[in-house]
């Protein structure tokens, strides 16, 4: 067992165990968010092992630094004092567990029995430069599309989240009048 293999098992455990704990057993949503932090770290490590260095950095910056903080803000801004997570009904839980297990077994079978034309290539060099060249060359249209979509989504998010402020201002105006 070489060092990358050992690292793979460590990162895989870091990614999968907190994810399962988070979704199946945790009742506290803040704790679940921090378990998700561990999962994102593990996936970033797996990207590193896949010699996708740029992707690992992006994963850390966007997921750990961005999305997780957004989720924590969402938790804090919408948290009631008595935030007891209502457990789903037993029927729902059973159906969801059965469905998830069935899908997991199906995926397992597919992964085991498909003849993947996989080679273990030698570790490639840094991927930042080829990714940049691809984004500004062959994949220019998806790149522009995604950037416009991101801009639209962010502006839309600001507008949706600010809507109530304007109405509050109107109410104050009415109260003064």
């Amino acid at each position: 067992m070489t060092l990358p293999d050992i690292l793979f098992w460590c990162f895989a455990a870091l990614a999968v165990i907190p994810a399962i704990l988070c979704v199946a057993f945790s009742r506290n949503i803040v704790r679940a968010a921090f378990l998700l932090l561990l999962t994102f770290w593990g996936v970033a490590g797996l990207y590193g092992l896949l010699s996708a260095d740029f992707l690992a950095a992006v994963q850390l910056i966007v997921y750990v630094g961005g999305i997780l903080v957004l989720i924590l803000f969402g938790v804090m801004l919408s948290r009631r004092m008595t935030m007891a997570e209502l457990p789903a009904g037993t029927g729902t839980t059973f159906l969801a567990a059965a469905g998830s297990l069935a899908l997991g077994l199906f995926l397992w079978q597919v992964i085991q029995h498909t003849p993947w034309e996989a080679t273990s290539q030698p570790a490639t060099s840094a991927t930042v430069r080829p990714i940049g060249e691809l984004f500004l060359g062959k994949f220019l249209l998806p790149f522009e599309f995604v950037s416009v979509l991101l801009l639209g989504a962010l502006v839309g998010a600001v507008i949706i989240a600010r809507k109530e402020l304007d109405e509050g201002g109107d109410d104050e105006m009415e109260a003064e009048a």
Partner: protein, 107 residues
């Protein structure tokens, strides 16, 4: 046993299934959002693994899978921002984000 493509696929499958379970069982919208993030992460990991282990067809650059992964991460960021804005708006109007309590379409 040498770590290969299938190991990464199994890890990503486990992440996907746990995300799916969260989406199906939880009633709190933030928790459902976390499940969606797990699912997107699993898909992105799959693309990165295929990009590393599968030899591309001639003429196709080896980093094409990474491009798909980056696009998925960007879409996940946009989705999280919009979803949380909608959640805040719902919370202001209904004082709850439990999906089972949100039954009105026209308030």
């Amino acid at each position: 046993m040498h770590v290969g493509l299938q190991h990464y696929l199994v890890v990503s499958g486990l992440l996907f299934v746990s995300g799916l379970y969260a989406v199906m069982t939880r009633r709190n919208s933030v928790w459902i959002l976390m499940g969606i993030e797990l699912i997107l992460n699993a898909a992105s990991l799959n693309f990165a693994a295929f990009s590393r282990f599968v030899t591309p067809a001639p003429g196709v650059p080896g980093e094409t899978g990474l491009i798909a992964s980056i696009v998925i991460i960007v879409l996940a960021a946009a989705e999280a921002a919009v979803a949380l804005a909608i959640l805040l708006s719902i919370y202001r109007n209904f004082r709850t984000i439990e999906t089972s309590d949100l039954k009105e379409l026209k308030g």
